[in-house]
């Protein structure tokens, strides 16, 4: 008369903690997750196709809107890919400023991640604290390029403008509060019993699985693989910077939390090096008014806050727009790992897993 049945439940696309419009089809046996099937595509705008139909320099605004928490990283990857394609050498000052902006952006992205992740687990206040510190970094962006989120910070060949006056002081002031902020998050969370219970050993993803699924970024580093494109294939001015790649071996949510916190500290360190060693000179290379391409093909990976973001551009002879434009976004590959992370999990762990992956649907669906 009675039979047991797996309850199918749709988490998303409208749900408080799927970070946008991720849809997870869960099979539940009571509280236990029996199956999980992520469904994406609700935010698809065809960024790649649009970029193929626009002139080379017009693509940048679309990269802003992919991962809206780390627009500068996307801009940087895009600009460097095209510079590689056209063989443009970027002035040293511009490379330094790019590095600096990129690391500020990493801080921003990690702050957003920490806030939303902590709120998913129930710590309401951390969210507001990270937002407070993030505000300072957004102010820096605003001073630099007039825009806070969709920065459009780069140009092919360098930067549109030099930094404004008083920029250095602004950055240092921002760091003052971010440093104190990181301390605060650590006191609130790192040794909090409930936080430990909710994160230690949850949503594990081993190094082998990471490599098999193409998962990159802090998740890979938390599994013990010290792969960071900033060190492995240096770009911008990273070859002149001294920094460490934080790694852990536990491969769980807590390890990723620690890795990201340490990355934030390293970012501050890198930006300070940039400020100290900032060379004089122009910020823009001499490039022709219109860019006409030769036959070529280029793939350029950079380390975005969420993992490897790669721009693959194919060009034809005399073309003013890319022939083929493909973006390898970190979130797209990371989100595949959710079912793997959710073996023997409970409903609450689904939220933790989504949070720890730091998914932004803008870049997954693009």
């Amino acid at each position: 008369m009675f039979k047991t049945q797996v309850m199918e439940i749709n988490m998303g696309p409208q749900h408080p903690s799927t970070h946008g419009v991720l849809r997870l089809k869960l099979g539940l046996d009571g509280e236990n997750v029996k199956s999980c099937y992520p469904i994406i595509g609700y935010l698809h705008r065809g960024v790649e196709k649009i970029c193929e139909n626009k002139a080379f320099f017009q693509g940048q605004v679309w990269t802003d809107r992919m991962d809206y928490c780390s627009a500068v990283s996307n801009n940087l990857g895009w600009a460097e890919a095209l510079e590689k394609l056209f063989g443009i050498r970027v002035p040293r000052r511009a490379r330094y400023l790019r590095t600096m902006l990129n690391e500020l952006n990493r801080l921003n992205s990690h702050l957003v991640w920490l806030g939303t992740h902590a709120m998913d687990i129930g710590a309401l206040s951390v969210f507001l604290y990270t937002w407070r510190d993030r505000e300072k970094i957004l102010d820096v962006f605003e001073a630099f390029c007039g825009s806070r989120l969709t920065t459009t910070a780069m140009r092919i060949g360098g930067l549109q403008e030099d930094v404004p006056e008083g920029f250095e002081k602004m950055v240092r002031d921002a760091f003052e509060s971010v440093r104190i902020g990181i301390q605060e998050y650590e006191t609130l969370l790192s040794e909090n019993r409930i936080w430990l219970k909710r994160t230690v050993g949850i949503a594990k993803l081993s190094a082998d699985d990471c490599l098999a699924y193409g998962v990159t970024g802090p998740i890979l580093r938390a599994a013990g693989v010290a792969y960071d494109i900033r060190k492995a294939h240096p770009y911008a001015a990273y070859d002149e910077m001294k920094f460490e790649i934080p790694t852990r071996t536990e491969a769980d949510t807590y390890a990723r939390y620690l890795v990201r916190l340490e990355e934030m500290r390293q970012s501050i360190h890198i930006v300070e090096q940039c400020l100290e060693g900032l060379p004089e000179g122009p910020v823009m290379a001499k490039i022709p008014k219109t860019l006409k391409s030769e036959v070529g093909e280029v793939y350029h990976p950079t380390e975005a806050p969420k993992g490897e973001i790669g721009f693959y551009v194919v060009s034809e002879k005399g073309g003013v727009n890319p022939y083929r434009f493909h973006i390898r976004t970190p979130g797209f590959l990371n989100v595949q790992a959710i079912p793997l992370m959710l073996q023997d999990a409970l409903v609450a762990d689904v939220v933790t897993a989504v949070g720890t992956l730091d998914v932004v649907l803008g870049e997954i669906d693009r």
Partner: protein, 383 residues
């Protein structure tokens, strides 16, 4: 005092009930406002300062009024207060949506069950020591009769209170099941397990002061815990208090135990499908439960409602100004303190996972309270 006729008793009770309901409907919105403000303080923001809505019409008028309040120095801080009126009006005039396949009858009564169970507990709580006021003699039928500070001064107050409080879970479970929706169902299952589990350590921990005082009667119990407690009795009382407040958090579904409505997992848990005033009833019931847990914590573990906690009362001469005699404002201060703790905890801690909550109840709280009960017995035997 002459014996009261049944009609007179009834009329007096009705006066008391009206007063209690008025009290609840003043205190609960104030709690909500306090929650917004305290959370705002914890999270470095302003808290509520305006209401959502258009710039025209009623909401516009109200927002302009609240904006105007912002110009005065102290009133400035409380300019979110009229917004509560807006919130309540919104709850009343909002469309009441019922899911098409919901079980109509159960769906409609479930919020009422929650609310009634929460309100009924107030019948046993003594708000004021002795007589509240005497009805003026020119009023016919009940003129000259005293109105007491407690609606029902029951001998087995504790038993009745626990019995009624445990009915509250039915509202949640029934509402969740009747919604015929999956998220509420999960929330309902969680709350059934959680609230039933936590009822056990809650009850055992409340037995500690009963054993120490040797009586189920509230007055006797408060007298003993406030003045007649042996120094050793403080230890079981404190452990009991710790267990009690933990269970109280779980019973009123507040962070870190807000499983039934875990926002980030289950959208809104058991009341996902509810809207308008039916949701409002669940919402009110939660806050009423909070204040009840706070009131009972002060009554049982903090030296009774109207006296100073920690046995301090015996060092104060009875003629001392304000704190020498039992007074309602000591009760009020205690309740406000516990409500603040509620909000404070909500601002600082993450949420437990469902199975971990069960672990806390069955592996830690129940053994702890049982051992504590034995300890209280030993103290009682030798003291």
């Amino acid at each position: 005092m002459p014996e009261m006729t049944p009609v007179q008793t009834l009329l007096i009770a009705i006066i008391q009930i009206v007063l209690v309901i008025a009290f609840v409907f003043v205190v609960v919105p104030l709690t909500i406002f306090a929650e917004r403000k305290v959370l705002g303080f914890v999270q470095q923001r302003l808290g509520s300062t305006r209401i959502a809505g258009k710039l025209r019409g009623i909401t516009g008028l109200q927002n302009r009024f609240m904006w105007g309040m912002g110009r005065f120095p102290i009133i400035h801080y409380f300019r979110g207060l009229p917004g509560l009126v807006g919130d309540i009006v919104k709850l009343f005039i909002k469309e009441d949506i019922r899911p098409a396949k919901a079980d109509r009858f159960v769906y409609l009564i479930a919020p009422c069950v929650s609310m009634i169970a929460a309100m009924l507990v107030y019948a046993m709580i003594g708000f004021y020591p002795g007589t509240l006021f005497t009805i003026p003699s020119f009023i016919p039928l009940i003129g000259g009769l005293p109105v007491g500070g407690t609606i029902a001064d029951v001998n087995v107050g504790l038993l009745m209170l626990l019995g009624i409080a445990s009915v509250g879970v039915y509202g949640i479970v029934l509402g969740a099941w009747a919604s015929n929706s999956k998220y509420p169902l999960l929330g309902g299952l969680r709350s059934a397990a959680q609230m039933v589990s936590y009822e056990v350590p809650l009850t055992i921990s409340m037995l500690t002061p009963v054993i120490l005082a040797g009586s189920l009667n509230f007055n006797e119990m408060t007298r003993v815990t406030a003045t007649g407690l042996s120094p050793w009795g403080v230890i079981p009382l404190f452990i009991g208090f710790f267990a009690y407040i933990t269970c109280g958090f779980a019973e009123s579904n507040r962070l870190p135990f807000d499983m039934p409505e875990a926002e980030n997992e289950l959208v809104a848990g058991y009341h996902t499908e509810y809207s308008g005033m039916r949701f409002g009833l669940f919402y009110l019931a939660e806050y009423i439960n909070m204040s009840i847990v706070a009131a009972l914590a002060s009554a049982f573990f903090f030296g009774g409602p109207w006296l100073l906690p920690f046995g301090l009362q015996r060092f104060i001469p009875e003629t001392a100004f304000w704190i020498g005699q039992p007074h309602w404002y000591i009760f009020a201060v205690k309740i406000v303190f516990f409500l603040f703790v509620y909000i404070w905890v909500r601002g600082s801690w993450p949420r437990y996972r469902y199975d971990q909550i069960m672990d806390v109840a069955w592996k830690y709280l129940i053994p702890m309270t049982l051992v504590n009960l034995v300890l209280a017995g030993i103290v009682r035997y030798f003291a």
